[in-house]
Symmetry: D2
C-alpha cells in the first residue's frame, strides 16, 4: 500500500523543513520511512538537541512530533492540514540519546470538517511504547 511517489512528496516536505526558519526546523532529523493514504511511519535518532535537562527525549518535542506527523498523515490522505483543536499525550517511557524512535501515525477519521489521528512513539530496539497521543484538527 506504500506509495513511493507519496514518500517522495513527503520527503520534499522533509527537505523544506530542514531549510525553514520556522519552528518546524526542530523536526529536521525526522526521517520518513513509509507512507500510505492516511498512514505514515517515521524514525528519529535522539540527539542532544532533542533532549530535556535529564538527557532524554523532551516531552515538548514528543508533543511537536505527534502534532506534526499526524498532520502529515492527514495530508497524505489528500486533505488540507487544517488547524489544531485538541492534542493529548501520555508519556510511558524515556528515550535516551542514541536510541532510535519509531513514529507511527494513523488517521482515525478524516471527515468534512474534523480530522482525528493517533500517533505512537516506540523504541525501535525493544518495540515498547515511549508515548502515545491523539490530535484533532478542524479541516473545513
Amino acid at each position: 500500500m506504500a506509495s513511493s511517489s507519496m514518500v517522495s512528496k513527503i520527503q520534499q516536505l522533509g527537505k523544506m523543513l530542514s531549510e525553514t526558519k520556522s519552528f518546524d526546523r526542530v523536526l529536521s532529523k525526522v526521517r520518513i520511512v513509509s507512507a500510505a493514504k492516511g498512514k505514515l511511519s517515521c524514525e528519529l535518532t535522539v540527539g542532544e538537541e532533542h533532549t530535556n535537562l535529564g538527557g532524554t527525549l523532551h516531552g515538548g518535542l514528543t508533543a511537536t512530533i505527534i502534532d506534526s506527523v499526524s498532520t502529515w498523515a492527514i495530508v497524505s490522505a489528500e486533505h488540507p492540514p487544517g488547524v489544531s483543536t485538541d492534542l493529548n499525550i501520555s508519556y510511558m517511557r524515556p528515550a535516551k540519546i542514541g536510541e532510535t524512535v519509531i513514529i507511527d501515525a494513523e488517521c482515525l477519521k478524516v471527515g468534512k470538517t474534523l480530522a482525528f489521528a493517533s500517533v505512537s512513539l516506540l523504541n525501535k530496539d525493544t518495540g515498547k511504547l515511549i508515548a502515545q497521543g491523539r490530535h484533532t484538527k478542524y479541516i473545513a
Copy 2:
C-alpha cells in the same frame, strides 16, 4: 505574594536555557514576569522561529511551553520537576508574529507522588485565550 528571590532563581534557569544545547533552547525567549509559590507568569513575543508554516505560533511550541512553564511552576512550589505522565492542550486562537503572549501557569495540586498544573496562553493586547492545557507529572 511575588518573591523577587524566586524570580531571580527562575531567571537563572532562563539564562541557563538560553545557553543549553538541549531542546529547552526553544524557550530561550520566554521571559519570566512574576513568580509565587506554585504560580508563574511569563511572556513571549512571537517571532518567525516560533511559527508553523502558516506564520502563527506552532502548536508544538505551545505544547512545549505548557509542558515547561508548568514544570517551572511545580519547581517554584519547591517540589522536584518529576516526569510527565499526561499533557493535553486545546487550541482556541492563533498568535501571529509580533504579538505578545502571556503564559499563566498554576499548580492545581502538588501531592506526594503526583502534581497537576494548568497553563493558559493569552493574547496580551486582547486578553483572549490562545490555548489552555493541563500537565500531570509523577514527582515521587
Copy 3:
C-alpha cells in the same frame, strides 16, 4: 451578572433530566446554584448511586458531569449544544459519600464552529480541587 430567568430556564432542564429515561437521568441530583452567560455553578451531594466500588465519586460520573455541565454553560451563552469532539479530565482527589461537590463551568471560547469550556469540581468544605476537565464541541 447571574440571571434568575436563566437559572429558571436551566432548572426546567434539571426537572426534565430527572424525568428522562435517557442517560442524563444520572445527573438528576445535580442542583444549579447560579448561572450567567457562559458560566454555570452547580452542586452535587455524593450518594451511593454516584460512587465506584471504592465508595467515592465515580470517574465516569465525573466525566459525565464535565461533559454535561459544560454543555449547559454553552447553552447559557445562547449557543446550540453541539456535539462533542474532545473531553479530558484530571482526577486529583476523591469525593466521599455525603460530601458536597461544587461544579464550576466556564466557556473559554464560543466561536462560530467550535466551543471550548472548562469545568472544575471542588470539595465544598475544603475548597480543594477534586477534578478538572476541558470539553471541545462542534456547534456549527
Copy 4:
C-alpha cells in the same frame, strides 16, 4: 490467548455490576466477549437508557465505558485497579439506539506505579470508530 477462566472471572464482575447500587450499574448491559492478559473485548447494544437527548450514545457513558473497561483490562493483567489520574476521549461518530458497539481495551503499559490503557469503541456493523480514549491510573 483468550482464557475462559479469565472470561468467567470477569463475567462474575459483570453479574456483580448488574446488582450494584453504585454508579457501575450503568454498565450492566456491557457484555464481555473475550479477555486475555491486558486485553479485553466487550459489546453493548445501545438502548434508550444509554442515550443523550439527541438519541445517540451519551458522551458521558462513552467516558464511563472507557474508564471502566480499561480498568478491567488492567485487572485482567493481574494488577490492582488503582485510581485514575487522567482520562481523555475523542468522539468521532454517533451510535444510535439499536446499534451494537464493540469496545476494545488494551493495556499500553502496566508499570510498578502507573498503568496506561487505550480503548476504542467501534460500530459492529461498519467497523468504523465511534470514539477512542486513553486512561492513566496510579496503581502503586
